[in-house]
Symmetry: C2
Subunit: 162 residues, 2 copies
């Protein structure tokens, strides 16, 4: 735990005075835990939502239910709406988190929606920009989840460095 990337993400957020919310599906909390492993994370991280069951992506994060019904949970637009939605979900006194990050994908071993195991979408929304990135990882379930965590931290860092 406590990857250099998580340190760098927190430093970059702190420097801008931005708060963070984390929305996870396949990573199941591991991304948020990685961020929390950095001492002083509480200055930046408001909280996270693990929307593991598909309907929770709609009910807690506000992802469009029709989008989920048509495309399933592994889709760039779902990642984007998760990252957007968690900002409000963990907001305080009606003020959303400044930045949201999300992961959705297939860790395997099974693929309920017929998509390829290892397909992962990462979403990042900041006050000035938003982006989704698609990855195709290989390996075992835990390895795919760890690669997704690293990709999300990388994605955050990249957006914060622009």
């Amino acid at each position: 735990m406590n990857e250099p990337d998580a340190d760098a993400v927190l430093s970059a957020l702190k420097q801008r005075g931005w708060t963070l919310g984390v929305a996870e599906s396949l990573t199941g909390g591991a991304l948020c835990a990685e961020i929390v492993s950095v001492p002083g994370a509480s200055a930046v991280l408001l909280g996270g939502v693990v929307a593991y069951a598909t309907p929770v992506k709609a009910s807690v994060l506000g992802v469009d239910a029709d989008l989920l019904a048509v495309y399933g949970p592994v889709h760039p637009q779902v990642a984007l709406q998760m990252a957007e939605g968690v900002r409000g979900a963990v907001g305080i006194d009606g003020v959303p988190a400044d930045v949201g990050v999300s992961t959705t994908g297939i860790a395997g071993p099974d693929s309920p929606d017929g998509q390829q195991v290892g397909t992962v979408h990462v979403g990042v929304v900041t006050p000035t920009a938003s982006r989704t990135t698609e990855f195709h990882f290989t390996g075992e379930r835990d390895s795919i989840r760890l690669q997704a965590v690293a990709a999300a931290l990388d994605g955050l860092l990249e957006m914060l460095s622009e």
Copy 2:
């Protein structure tokens, strides 16, 4: 990852046909991630909430704001209300998760509320019982968090074995 305890917890839940929600503070998603590391977790786990900032414990999990104001977030009743609240938060179509588990405590290195670093409360709520347990762990930040994850899994397993 993938401790034997997480396997046993999921088996016990599956056997009873019960779903699970996870509410975390100091463990920051690591408890939920531990559960997700077991293949087939999706049959049981609906989702989780990392209520890291104190107000998020009230807004997302429904913990009594007065309780938080008077006692702070590290209190057995807060743990209990987090475990209770996450059942509804990750519920589907108005049906709450059957079981909720929670962690709240001080991982250190600082203790904002003056409580001892290593103090952890675990809450478990099932359809038939509820319980909170207080722990006093020693060690570094990551070690305290890992001990809290293990204690929560143990607590769940104990409640499901009764």
